[in-house]
């Protein structure tokens, strides 16, 4: 907590600061995992996929 913009709330409204910190951290993890999953996705068509049901969406490698 070295940035005043975050530190200020811990002084003025400590309970709220704690809540936001926890929720913000959770949100960061959620987003990061989302990107991780995108990073792990394959954008290539699976072998022999031509003509198959496209609604199945992209598959994991």
């Amino acid at each position: 907590m070295t940035e005043t913009r975050f530190k200020m709330l811990t002084k003025s409204k400590p309970e709220l600061a704690k809540k936001y910190m926890a929720e913000g951290h959770k949100d960061n993890l959620r987003r990061f995992h989302f990107y991780e999953q995108m990073a792990a996705m394959s954008y290539d068509s699976p072998a022999g996929a031509e003509g198959e049901d496209e609604s199945a969406g992209p598959r994991d490698k």
Binding site: T2, E3, T4, R5, F6, K7, M8, L9, K11, S12, K13, L16, A17, Y20, M21, A22, E23, G24, H25, D27, N28, L29, R30, R31, F32, F34, Y35, E36, M38, A39, A40, M41, Y43, D44, S45, P58
Partner: protein, 1139 residues
């Protein structure tokens, strides 16, 4: 009734009334109105209540357009609603203002009137914004002083509720919005007495509700629209009377009396000046002074400008009037006169025609004054009154400038003054970052609230963010102060930076026998010999008392760093004696607690220590009888600078821009680039010193430098032949430039001393851990030798760009920056990206810059950091508005593509004459790499040569568009306020266009330029203005939203977290033949830490070490795979981001 006396500015005065008499405020930040919204938000977060005992809801919108829409909706559903704005912001509200007025809706918009951008943006004050709303149907009510702002805000609220005509209550931006004055605060009972609940309930009863449904906002056809429009007339006819009623009621409750038009001056005046706003205060001072000396002059202060009451205006004029001169603080090019003048002429002429004029038709002239907060003084008022006394006075004149082009200006006597001797006047020269303004605001509050004196504070800023100069103008005296102009004769002058002595002749403003306080590294015994001749001469000639203190020493010793504000403030109180010493110190400490309490006990404690440590270090200097100095003020710019820089830029740098005549400035707002190089600001206390022996040649120092003030070259050692003796070089360590030498060189007079380069330097001395390859050292002893070294360095040849590995930090930093020495904050986190872009593509870039920090450090006079290379090529730059930047940049691309297409058509048409080989080579050129672009430029040179010998329009037209055949790079640059909020709709559309533009979002997660307001990029839990209780929701993921299109190159970058990914992202974005978006995390002074360590805050925010509020994606190898992976059917160079 007991009322408090408070010392506040105009914004706070307006917000105070608006907050207590409304239920909803929908707001959007724009200078200089932002503090009104900030106050409302803060009070709401503190659970303060309005006069009905409920807490108003304050909501920040994405733009003024959005704010006015929300206001309209809230009003239509019955809430008492207000907003605060200025300038372009008010213009964005105009569509809704027509609706609100057309629907006879009660509301007050509080406007700190500001210049509308035309040939240039200006944040300063005039009435061009308010005048642009004349046709909306809003009433226009003007306040000229802080007390009037509070009083008339309430009058406006009361009148609109009764009369149903909405009101713009306006006052002058900065001069009134930011002037601090001691005033009487209205009590809540005053407001309750003025606001009639019957009309509040009537407002609610008109609201849209499914319980009593109506339809409002219909579409109408030619058969009835006109008639329906005329139905409002009775309300406008009645409204002046209703406003006067409210004024009279206010007088009965509070005691201060106002009229629609207030007359001041000689009862038998023959010459009358008419104006509104803060200028009327100055005019009052001048007219009273002249009338007391027997001149038959008077003043009409216009309060209610619209609806304009002809009857009230004519009744306010003395029957003896023979001449009227009307002053407008706006310009309407091509009109028959400015608005107030035209209205006065119309009123008098109509009355004359109807035989309703109680005096002979007076001579009437009109003039312009005070545009963009141009000074308006009693001497100028006198000049206007003198002019109209002439047999053939100038009409449509200007006052306050020297118009040598069309000869409109009046002569002004600079010696004329109306200031009373018992008013104490003080000037303080400070650095933008040293806290001088904040301390002086506290001083004014202390004087205003702890002594019987009336007090006034006004603060002048330049537009630099690092090393900016602030001048605080403080007055106090026994009567209310109406001097709404700068101090030109001061009893006390404080210079908080020794360096300023060689930049400004500040003692020219000192009165004889005054006081000069100097923050000096030299003590009382040695300082005399360090002063310039002109300073010594003034001290002697004016018999000034002279005091010195080493404020920086006290600041260092008490942990205050470079903030000398409370130290200098303590000196001021000690010397001036305005309060007994102990009382003054107690008051200063109370102010410190109030100002810094929210930032933590440690900051308060350090400030207390600084106050306590001050007086022992304050010394009076014995002023010798003769001038002994040989130090002259250095020229503002080098004698080698171009003529324009010598004539115009130098004057502005010297603070003498007011003296430039009209002819010195361009007709259309076009200026040369590459001018920052001439503005040697010398603001660094310390600069980096390079130890070549331990340098690992990583290039990180140059990469992080926000000001391109530390540079790297690799070159043939033969060029060292005439090197200065202290010039350093070492053998280059890489293979690509074998046998070459390498130099890192600081620009000593351009460095801001942020120390980011030394901090990031990874090369440590193994035998001495405290020594790195870059260490900071005092600038003054190094200035001259390093100046010589830097000049030599600049003369060394630039690297051959085709040999450089551009996609690495090291390689990119060999490239010449074409963005240099900007006025951005010391340690700015944005400018390294802008500089990098200029290094990589600057010679072929065209930049659209959203209004914000980047447009100010990029395009605010006197100079621009955008520069040119040795061929004269460099970025060309423009700023349209805040909200339309993406569209503006798209326009660049549309032109480039169209002209490229047209040039190709012409070339094919002329191929027989040009030659098939050259034609094909040009049209088929591969310009994906720099080599290809250089070759294409050579071909275009050949083409131009060939075209010279050809006749006919096709050849001439091809000449005019031939440059478009060389690849250009369009960069759309702006901050998160633009990209996430006000400009998001346009940005979204431009990204969806598929056109080849590059968008660079400098994401500081806050509105940096306007002072740190919350944007949708602000992370959860962060405290910002308009988020006083912390941002309750997470940051918007702009990158992810852009990725959803599937055809946009998207990168999120943070140099420091991953430097090479940052460089690569820029190169890939430029190479991608489609829209690209780079969201660049930028540390910022608004985040609240020393920017020297900004790089740490980037690292800590990376996923490798996630802080609780870190962003979701940075630069790990996994995420890089997303950012650079190719999608099916597209080449890898497209570096698609989305599935």
């Amino acid at each position: 009734m007991e009322r408090r006396t408070v010392t506040i500015d105009g914004n706070e005065a307006a917000a105070y009334v608006a907050f207590h008499t409304n239920e909803v405020c929908a707001i959007y930040p724009i200078t200089p109105s932002s503090p009104m919204g900030e106050w409302a938000d803060q009070w709401s977060s503190e659970d303060r209540r309005n006069i009905w005992g409920t807490r108003p809801t304050v909501v920040e919108m994405q733009s003024e357009g959005g704010a006015s829409g929300a206001v309209h909706g809230a009003l239509q559903t019955g809430a008492l609603t207000s907003t605060f704005t200025a300038s372009q912001g008010l213009l964005l509200m105009i569509p809704n203002m027509f609706k609100i007025a057309g629907e006879l809706t009660s509301t007050v918009f509080h406007v700190s009137a500001r210049t509308v951008a035309s040939h240039a943006l200006s944040i300063f004050g005039d009435h061009s914004d308010v005048m642009a709303t004349r046709s909306t149907g809003f009433g226009l009510l003007a306040s000229g002083s802080i007390q009037e702002v509070m009083d008339l805000a309430l009058v406006a609220q009361a009148a609109t509720l009764k009369g149903r005509v909405p009101v713009v209550h306006f006052f002058d931006g900065f001069r009134t919005s930011h002037e601090v004055q001691k005033i009487e605060e209205l009590a809540l009972d005053d407001m309750k007495g003025m606001i009639d609940d019957e009309f509040v309930r009537a407002h609610r009863a008109r609201a849209l509700s499914p319980d009593h449904p109506v339809l409002r906002g219909s579409a109408q056809n030619p058969d009835v629209f006109f008639q329906a429009r005329e139905r409002i007339n009775p309300y406008y006819d009645a409204f002046p009377g209703i406003v006067q009623e409210a004024m009279d009621r206010f007088a009965s409750i509070v005691g201060r009396s106002y009229h629609l038009f207030d007359y001041i001056g000689a009862p038998d005046a023959e010459r009358v000046v008419v104006l509104m706003g803060s200028g009327a205060e100055t005019a009052e001072e001048a007219v009273e002074y002249l009338a007391a000396r027997g001149e038959k002059v008077g003043l009409i202060k216009v309060r209610l400008y619209r609806p304009f009451s002809r009857q009230h205006f004519i009744e306010s004029l003395p029957k003896t009037v023979k001449a009227v001169t009307v002053l407008d603080r706006t310009k309407e090019a091509g009109s028959t006169g400015e608005p107030l003048y035209v209205d006065v002429v119309t009123a008098l002429s109509e009355a004359l025609g109807e035989d309703a004029l109680p005096f002979a038709m007076p001579k009437v002239t009109g003039g312009r004054y005070g545009l963009s907060s141009k000074e308006f003084t009693p001497a100028m008022v006198k000049a206007c009154l003198d002019e109209i006394a002439k047999p053939s006075p100038k009409n449509h004149f200007t006052v306050g400038i020297h118009d040598d082009v069309t000869g409109t200006s009046l002569e002004v006597d600079p010696e004329f003054t109306t200031e009373a001797d018992d008013v104490i006047r003080c000037l303080f020269y400070g650095l933008g970052s040293d806290g001088t303004v904040g301390a002086n605001k506290n001083s004014i509050k202390i004087i205003g609230e702890e002594t019987p004196n009336y007090a006034q504070g006004y603060f002048v800023y330049d537009s630099k963010k690092a090393g900016s100069v602030t001048v605080s103008h403080l007055r106090f005296g026994p009567r209310p102060i109406k001097s709404t102009y700068l101090i030109s004769k001061a009893n006390f002058i404080g210079c908080h930076q020794f360096l300023f002595l060689e930049k400004f002749d500040m003692l020219e403003y000192a009165v004889a026998g005054g006081v000069f306080l100097l923050n000096s590294p030299y003590g009382p015994d040695e300082v005399w010999d360090k002063l310039p001749r002109s300073v010594q001469a003034s001290l002697i000639e004016k018999k000034l008392k002279f005091y010195v203190i080493d404020g920086y020493k006290v600041a260092r010793e008490t942990g205050m760093g470079s903030r000398v504000n409370t130290i200098m403030q303590t000196c001021f109180f000690a010397i001036s004696g305005v309060l007994p010493k102990d009382e003054a110190i107690a008051a200063i400490k109370r102010a410190i607690k109030k100002t810094y309490g929210a930032k933590g006990d440690e900051i308060v404690r350090k400030n207390y220590q600084a106050v306590d440590g001050t007086l022992a270090n304050l010394h009076e200097v014995n002023v010798p009888a003769t001038v002994t100095s040989t130090i002259d003020l250095p020229p503002a710019v080098s004698p080698e600078a171009p003529e324009y820089v010598q004539k115009v830029v130098a004057s502005i740098i010297r603070g003498k821009g007011d003296e430039l005549p009209v002819s010195a400035l361009p007709e259309d707002g076009t200026f040369p680039t590459a001018t920052a190089q001439w503005e040697k600001r010398n603001i660094a206390q310390e600069i980096p010193v390079w130890d070549e022996n331990i340098c690992i040649q990583c290039g990180k120092c140059a990469m992080v430098c926000p000001h391109a003030a530390i540079r790297i070259k690799v070159y043939d050692p033969k060029h060292l032949e005439n090197a200065p003796s202290t010039f350093k070089s070492t053998k280059y360590k890489g293979r690509e430039f074998e046998n070459m030498v390498y130099t890192i060189q600081v620009a000593p007079e351009d460095c801001t001393g942020c120390a980011a380069c030394a901090y990031v330097c990874p090369a440590k001395d193994k035998s001495n851990a405290s020594h790195k390859s870059l260490d900071m050292a005092d600038q003054i002893p190094l200035r001259i030798p390093e100046r010589e070294n830097y000049e030599f360095f600049l003369g060394l040849p630039e690297v051959d760009r085709t040999l450089v590995k551009r996609d690495t930090v090291k390689g990119s930093q060999f490239l010449q920056p074409l963005f240099e020495y900007s006025g951005a904050c010391a340690g700015c986190g944005e400018t390294p990206y802008v500089k990098l872009m200029s290094q990589l593509f600057g010679d072929r870039s065209i930049v659209a810059n959203a209004t914000g920090c980047s447009s100010i450090y990029g395009g605010n006079l006197p100079t621009t950091p955008w520069a040119v290379n040795h061929e004269g090529r460099g970025p060309t730059w423009s700023n349209s508005l805040f909200e339309d930047n993406a569209e503006f940049g798209l326009g660049f691309r549309l032109t480039l593509d169209k002209q490229n297409e047209y040039a190709g058509e012409l070339l094919q048409k002329l191929s027989g004459k040009v030659g098939d080989n050259l034609t094909r080579a040009i049209l088929d050129a591969d310009q994906s790499e720099e080599t290809g672009i250089f070759e294409q430029r050579r071909r275009i040179d050949q083409l131009r040569e060939a075209l010279k010998s050809m006749d006919g329009p096709d050849a001439r037209n091809l000449e005019s568009v031939a440059d478009s055949l060389v690849k250009k790079s369009v960069w759309i640059v702006g901050g998160d306020g633009w990209a996430y909020d006000i400009g998001y709709g346009g940005l979204d559309h431009v990204l969806a266009s598929g056109r080849n533009v590059n968008v660079l979002v400098l994401d500081t997660e806050v509105y940096s330029n306007t002072g740190g307001q919350c944007s949708k990029a602000t992370p959860m839990g962060s405290v910002a203005k308009f988020a006083a209780s912390g941002k309750p929701l997470p940051k918007k993921d702009l990158a992810l939203m852009a990725m959803s299109y599937g055809n946009v190159y998207v990168a999120r970058v943070a140099f420091g977290a991953n430097d090479n990914q940052t460089v690569k992202a820029f190169i890939e974005a430029d190479a991608y033949d489609g829209p690209s978006l780079i969201v660049a995390y930028s540390h910022c002074i608004a985040h609240g830490y020393d920017l020297m360590v900004g790089i740490d805050h980037r690292r800590r925010r990376s996923p490798a070490a996630p802080g609780p509020f870190s962003a979701t994606i940075r630069t790990t190898s996994r995420t890089e795979r997303i950012l650079s992976s190719s999608m099916p059917g597209r080449p890898r160079s497209a570096t698609q981001t989305t599935p």
